[in-house]
Amino acid sequence: MWKQPLDSKGLVQITEFSSGEMFGFAWSKDGKQLAFARGVRTTDVVMMSNFRKTGSSLQPSEVLRTDLELCNPNCRFLSFGILHKDVQVTVVIEHTGVEQLSVLLHGAPPRRERNFPAPKVNVRSAPRNSTKVCQNSAG
């Protein structure tokens, strides 16, 4: 954290950490104390195959953002973020259809705009109830 007077003179560094991120700060009303939040973001990568309505352990409240960020060239894998056990998790879905995916996304209507064109590949045959979640701790 740095402090700079309104006249733009006298830039002063007030915290000095060699790692982590600063998430927020607040001075007490009497100006005598400074509180700040810092830490390290940790993410897991979750791979789910053949996602089905009845196979998800995710709850709508866990969806952190529903914008799909990645879509590989054949649009078979998509990723988005959720909060899972208080950890921000990137979910990668090998999706098998727009309808199934939309269930996970807060029941939103199928999204076909920009980063989410309709699947261009056929569903790979797989045994029912084969959904699996693999978590790799990265932090």
Partner: protein, 141 residues
Amino acid sequence: MLWVGKADGSDAKQVTSGEAVGFGLTWIADRLAAGTPRGKWFVMNSDGSNKTSLTGDNDPHFQVSTCNDDKHIVDWNVHNGQIELWSAAADGANAQKPVPATLIGSGICGPDSKSVLYVKDGAVWSIPIEGGTPEQTNFPF
């Protein structure tokens, strides 16, 4: 994790551990209010002790605003996909929704500690903190 130090940043000490907090941070009098990534808020002493819940429901709450009187707070949450503005006592008790309409933005406590300011229809509105008739302010927007 939360850290507290002197105003110049010196003597900072970590005061919380375990659950991540600090995704939203404000002082309520001499106590600290901090939010988790899930939008749960806690209030605690500046040394991290006596931590209690500030928001008791399951909805994510954001941007707790402390009134100047240190007796009230204003925050907003997302409930069933809609933004709701709330006011409450400094300890989170007596929470109520002063603004019945659906909002598109957040609100803050007014400088008199008796009103809530919020944005609606391209203007800044003021409403008594305990609810009532909203009035459009002259604040430029």
